[in-house]
């Protein structure tokens, strides 16, 4: 009889536990189905020079970081110094995807805050963005030597994510043939 009186309380506790777990999860973080899949192919003009093209072929045989950015994106500004610093110390090339931006704004932005990118592709209409499942700029991918996406960060890269997740993963991927 006593146990039965406790039942509503138990049910309530179970509910609270489930809700508490729910609170710790970020609904914005959707696991990308692109992980462990081949990077979507693209070919776009570069931001700096419209007559030159950037394509997914450029990633072949290298471990690369692919960073989606835009001059209108506030959070991009947050992670940008980190990328600039990383590009100066690391051999891993960072390719940029300039997402739905004005060319002149993008160029001014790179001039003002530094350019960590080997080259940035100019995705004016965001079609390549859709192909890559981009929905919250900035987004950062790591692609292995075989052209497979191995990592995706939605939102700005923080020093913790860079040091604890990305750099160890890149080191591991470099070992792979």
């Amino acid at each position: 009889m006593k146990l039965r009186a406790l039942l509503p309380l138990l049910a309530f506790i179970v509910l609270v536990i489930f809700l508490a777990i729910g609170l710790t999860r970020d609904p914005k973080k959707i696991t990308s189905p692109l992980i462990d899949k081949a990077a979507p192919a693209f070919r776009l003009p570069s931001v700096a020079d419209p007559s030159k093209f950037v394509s997914s072929e450029d990633f072949k045989g290298k471990v690369v970081i692919f960073n989606v950015w835009a001059s209108w994106c506030v959070a991009c500004r947050e992670e940008h110094p980190l990328l600039v610093k990383f590009s100066k110390t690391s051999q891993t090339p960072i390719y940029g995807l300039n997402y739905k931006d004005e060319r002149s704004d993008a160029l001014r932005w790179l001039q003002a805050f530094g350019n960590p990118y080997v080259v940035s592709a100019f995705d004016l209409k965001g079609t390549v963005g859709i192909d890559w499942g981009v929905y919250g700029v900035p987004e950062t991918f790591i692609i292995d030597k075989k052209g497979i996406i191995r990592f995706k960060q939605i939102g700005p890269v923080t020093p913790e994510i860079l040091n604890q997740e990305m750099i160890p993963l890149i080191a591991k991927l470099e070992q792979e043939s």
Partner: protein, 159 residues
């Protein structure tokens, strides 16, 4: 005058509806395609503004996705192909109606399991209640009831 302003107001409100705006910019020659497009954009979630469909949302990405769906519909792709295209890129999350698979079993079957549990609980309770009602009273208790009742009848008379 009053009626005229009413008509104008209603027209403005109707025109301002976002759904209307989303639809109006797309033209279809084939009514079947128009229907497919309308159905799809009302079933796909905008991943930026997570509680809106891409038809409802004014977000940039929602507009891009509407454009993409429009192009795919015009190319003659069917509902399944378009959904697969988006799920491959944005995960099952883009579907307002989640598919039945291992990670959604609980979601789909859960309510029915709860219903069955509630039903069993109810059955047990009803059976228990019926049992208490049919409990036989021993003669001693019966006698006591009789005395109490007659006592009360007497009290009532005295009032």
């Amino acid at each position: 005058m009053k009626r005229l302003s009413l008509i104008v107001m209603t027209t403005i409100i109707f025109m301002a509806s976002p759904l209307w705006a989303a639809f109006n910019t797309y033209e279809f020659e084939d009514p079947e395609k128009k229907e497919r497009f309308g159905k799809l954009i009302n079933e796909l979630r905008c991943t930026v503004c997570q509680n809106q469909t891409i038809a409802d949302s004014n977000a940039d990405l929602a507009k891009d996705l509407r454009d993409k769906v429009y192009v795919m519909v015009q190319e003659g792709q069917n509902e399944e192909q378009i959904k697969t295209f988006l799920v491959d890129r944005f995960s099952d999350f883009v579907l307002y109606r989640p598919p039945v698979n291992r990670s959604t079993y609980l979601l789909w079957i859960g309510p029915f399991v709860l219903l069955i549990i509630a039903f069993i609980f109810l059955l047990v309770q009803i059976r228990k209640r019926n049992q208490t009602v049919s409990t036989v009273i021993d003669p001693q208790q019966h006698a006591r009831i009789e005395t109490l009742l007659s006592q009360q009848a007497k009290d009532n008379k005295d009032d």
